[in-house]
């Protein structure tokens, strides 16, 4: 089938600029947001789109992230298409509402530009913010670079609003590394984005006053479990919808996305699992190692919630050893959140590969090819018979 790919133009922009542009092209009904580094430039740029009449969004300058999420929820329940953005403490400040938003089945799309949680206070990149909010019923979509952040923004609208899903989506990417660095990427024309995202037609809405409805009721034990079960089922279905929407987007743009990306993994003996911008560095290291005859590959999760455990286990099962790199720690657990997920996904696999967890890059600590090179060396030893440590190894700690 000959598919015609839409005309796109290359731009040089920051990740945040790309996401603000995607928001402009989506032209959401309501945006309620509060500034926090490194997210701020999204809402600033979007405010200028509003001020210049480039969008006809109702932009609510709320007094806190708690109210940003509250207002987003009110607007979404009213029937509007809603977007917002935050980072770190801002996301933490919304925490109470994140689970209510999912339970109320409100398809809000929110950028969370990944930043370390306090304390100590740190504005730089790691993923401890969104990882701390991973069990709230939101869909978590990670991007590696500005292109993916832009693309995920547009796809998320469709995923969130899909009739089988109706759940909020977090579009995630690394603070500063992606949000503030200028990258070259392809953008669609406004009309194509508009056609792709379509209109939101809510089945239930507060503003449909002829059919009054109570949102957010009080629920006794007799029904609570059923509500959570319905959320779980919808969230698990998101896997299929992500694939479906990504396929359609691929036909439009020529850029195909799955639940995760595999890089030289087919014939690999050892593999690195890593989310976000570091996956780019890991791929570079893989190329270097491959030139030396080392059979290493990368698996880059894109969809983290719901976690595609079966699919990821399938993609890793032929390896001898897997390194899972976490840019967040799950304090008090054996390792970071991704390593725990991967280890548990592999648990049922016969002859499963050894899994070694690593915690790296916290609070914006530099992650270069050398550091990833050291992981590969480590992994070769494990593939040759060394036992992995139960607790994840902290990379690059100054002792």
């Amino acid at each position: 089938m000959a598919t015609t790919i839409a005309t796109q133009k290359p731009v040089a922009m920051t990740g945040n600029g790309g996401c603000a542009l995607a928001m402009k092209q989506i032209n959401p009904d309501v945006v309620a947001a509060y500034p926090i580094t490194p997210q701020t430039t999204i809402v600033e740029e979007f405010a200028s789109y509003v001020a210049n009449g480039a969008v006809d969004t109702e932009y609510i300058n709320v007094e806190s992230e708690h109210s940003a999420m509250s207002a987003s929820m009110g607007a979404s329940a009213a029937g509007a298409r809603v977007m917002t953005a935050t980072s770190s403490q801002g996301l933490a400040y919304m925490w109470e509402l994140l689970s209510i938003a999912a339970a109320m089945r409100l398809p809000i799309v929110m950028h969370n530009v990944n930043r370390a949680l306090s304390g100590p206070l740190n504005i730089h990149c790691d993923q401890s913010d969104s990882m701390g909010a991973r069990d709230m019923g939101w869909i978590h979509l990670f991007g590696e670079n500005a292109q993916e952040a832009y693309d995920n923004t547009i796809m998320s609208i469709r995923i969130a609003e899909h009739a089988d899903i109706l759940l909020p989506v977090m579009v995630l990417y690394d603070g500063f590394i992606i949000s503030h660095a200028i990258d070259r990427f392809e953008v669609l024309e406004d009309a194509d984005v508009k056609a792709f995202v379509g209109e939101r037609i809510p089945e239930r809405a507060l503003l449909d006053t002829d059919n009054p409805m109570t949102f957010g009721p009080f629920v006794m034990p007799a029904y609570y479990t059923e509500h959570r079960y319905a959320m779980r089922n919808a969230l698990m279905k998101a896997k299929d919808v992500v694939l479906e929407v990504s396929k359609e987007y691929g036909a439009l743009t020529g850029r195909t996305y799955g639940l995760f990306e595999e890089y030289k993994l087919d014939d690999a003996e050892i593999g690195i699992v890593v989310i976000g911008s570091t996956a780019g560095t890991a791929k570079y290291v893989v190329d270097e190692m491959r030139a030396k005859g080392i059979k290493v590959g990368v698996l880059k999760p894109r969809l983290f919630r719901p976690f595609p455990a079966e699919e990821i286990a399938g993609a890793l099962s032929h390896l001898k050893a897997v390194a899972v790199m976490d840019r967040a720690d799950s304090l008090g657990a054996a390792g970071g959140p991704v390593s725990l997920e991967v280890a548990s996904a592999l648990y049922g696999v016969a002859n499963r590969p050894e899994v070694q967890g690593y915690v790296y890059g916290l609070g914006g600590r530099e992650v270069g090819p050398d550091l990833i090179g050291s992981v590969v060396e480590d992994l070769q030893k494990i593939a040759a018979g060394d036992k992995p440590t139960t607790a994840a190894k902290y990379l690059g700690v100054k002792e």
């Binding site: 806190s64 708690h66 109210s67 207002a71 607007a75 029937g79 009054p212 006794m220």
Partner: protein
């Protein structure tokens, strides 16, 4: 302003069958406020007695569109609903002639304390909505804990009267004045005992363009330790003693809506309530005097603001 005959023909938008206590002031406040709105209305509520007792899934007592989000964000949630209305109307997704009103309810805890930021933000931004605080002077839903609205001397489960403590040691904060400082077009204080005044104020609040705030005295028989059938009477005493003056601030202009020739002594309001029982023990006369002098001072100040003798 509607007559009682007209009001009697209007539909109650909060139905019976909810599980609020007998004699609860909150539901009376809500029904009277909703009698003041004509046409479609979207209601919101903070977590608290009102919300948990009217929305127990799969039932609902609300005949209107209704949203509950969390404890402290009823105003922010309604900001979003109102913003959605403005934009969907502008985009032609809602008929241009469809007028919808918006009202957020919150108890005193959800309004004076934890929700103050969200309320202040919503008022400052100027959303076209009415915020109603049903003030029963404590966190009733969690078992009568003190709030910023709890009166001086009241015994609550977190400000109990005992050997060393004599109930809440602080004066209550004056939220109505805080709201007036937001320069919003309409602010009023009302009481469930003065139904006509309350419905009239609700009508005015819904009529203004922009934010309006109503603070409604809504006794809680359980927390105030009064009989269930005393709600209206005790609220009336609150007004007659000057503890809860009825007034409004329209575009910054103060107007007292009910001027008793002479205020009744505040003990008339305190005495019937079990939560003030300890104040009447020998040795606590000073506390009663303090209470009285604070009420008198506030009343005099209000009269000055309203330019009356």
């Amino acid at each position: 302003m509607a007559t009682i005959k007209e009001l009697s023909k209007r539909e109650d938008l909060l139905s019976g069958g909810h599980s609020l206590c007998a004699g609860c002031g909150a539901s009376i406040a809500v029904r009277q406020v909703l009698l003041g709105v004509r046409g479609p209305v979207v209601c919101g509520s903070a977590t608290g007695c009102l919300e948990v007792s009217t929305t127990s899934f799969p039932m609902t007592a609300w005949k209107t569109s209704f949203i509950h989000n969390a404890f402290e964000n009823s105003a922010a949630t309604m900001s979003g609903v109102e913003a959605a209305y403005q934009v969907l109307k502008r985009k032609g997704k809602i008929p241009a002639d469809k007028r919808i009103k918006f009202v957020a309810f919150g108890g005193d805890g959800g309004t004076y304390d934890i929700g103050l930021q969200s309320l202040s933000g919503a008022m400052e931004r100027g959303h076209d909505m009415v915020y109603v605080c049903y003030d029963n002077g404590a966190y009733m839903n969690t078992g009568i804990q003190r709030s910023g609205a709890t009166p001086f001397g009241a015994s609550t489960t977190t400000s109990p009267a005992g050997k060393a403590g004599q109930g809440k040691p602080q004066w209550r904060k004056d939220l109505t004045q805080i709201m007036a400082a937001h320069h919003i077009p309409y602010v009023a204080q009302a009481s469930v005992s003065h139904w006509k005044d309350l419905v009239d104020k609700a009508e005015k609040a819904f009529a203004v363009e922009g934010p309006a705030f109503l603070n409604v005295l809504a006794p809680c028989p359980r927390g105030w330790r009064v009989p269930n059938d005393m709600t209206i009477e005790i609220a009336k005493l609150g007004v007659q003693t000057g503890f809860w003056p009825l007034y409004e601030i329209v575009d910054g202009e103060y107007k007292i809506s009910f001027k008793p020739k002479e205020l009744k002594p505040v003990v008339d309001f305190l005495k019937p309530q079990g939560r003030f029982k300890h104040l009447f023990k020998p040795g606590n006369e000073q506390l009663l005097e303090t209470f009285q002098s604070e009420v008198t001072k506030s009343w005099e100040k209000l009269k000055k603001l309203a330019g009356v003798e």
